[in-house]
Symmetry: C2
């Protein structure tokens, strides 16, 4: 099954990256301003983008290098897919390897989401390096669906 | 084998998108300023980024919706892979579906290239919508490899 892969290097500590991937107020700073829920193992995070959005069950929370969510509600193509962030500090940088796995088919929506994840990961980098991210609804628009 | 997929929607005609994917001076405006070669079937395009770069053999050139290249020289992981742009006009927009196919393994370099392709496709969009792209060496940097 095809996966969406990305990499982003952030001039930041691993601890700060972990916080940006787990604390509700930090997630709100780079992905979507309307983020709610419980960021604990078995908890559910609710990311909203206007009318639509995604509910994620938190499966792994490891400050040493991994956060893993599974989509339990949202667009049909997303349900059951997993989203992982593997990260490690290398000198002044923390390197994040991102994977959105479990897509059934490489549909047009998957192409869209791949580019969009890149946009949001650049927002994550900006949040940590400059103090300001560009979460929805202020993120870079990529096509006519937005 | 895993593929890199992206989608970008451009407020531009299909003819202008085709030109941006085929004319040397237009390719220089969004991917890398140092682009040379012959953009014809069987011709070779040479994209340079400082010391490194990619040589692509042009396999398909269809103004009605498809450009296809095959990598014949460059980093080992890229050799033999193919890069395709499928595009079609929908109202005011031309939608581009991008695929970099034939990677052997989902290595860290593939993660890097996926995010980097998103950056360059945003540059392509900007070139066509605003008149100015951000080709190498002025593109957005994503990690410690740059």
């Amino acid at each position: 099954m095809p996966d969406i892969l990305h990499k982003i290097g952030i001039k930041s500590s691993q601890a700060d990256v972990y916080k940006a991937l787990t604390a509700i107020e930090r997630l709100s700073g780079w992905w979507t301003t309307t983020t709610e829920g419980e960021s604990k193992i078995g908890g559910v995070l609710r990311f909203r983008f206007g009318n639509g959005g995604f509910d994620m069950k938190v499966l792994q929370l490891d400050p040493a290098g991994r956060v893993l969510w599974q989509v339990i509600d949202g667009p049909e193509e997303w349900i059951g897919t997993t989203i992982s962030f593997d990260f490690d500090q290398r000198g002044d940088w923390t390197i994040v390897l991102f994977k959105h796995a479990g897509w059934k088919e490489p549909v047009e929506f998957m192409h869209h989401c791949s580019t969009k994840w890149a946009v949001f990961l650049l927002s994550l980098k900006s949040l940590l390096e400059t103090g300001g991210g560009a979460p929805w609804p202020n993120e870079i628009k990529i096509d006519s669906w937005e």
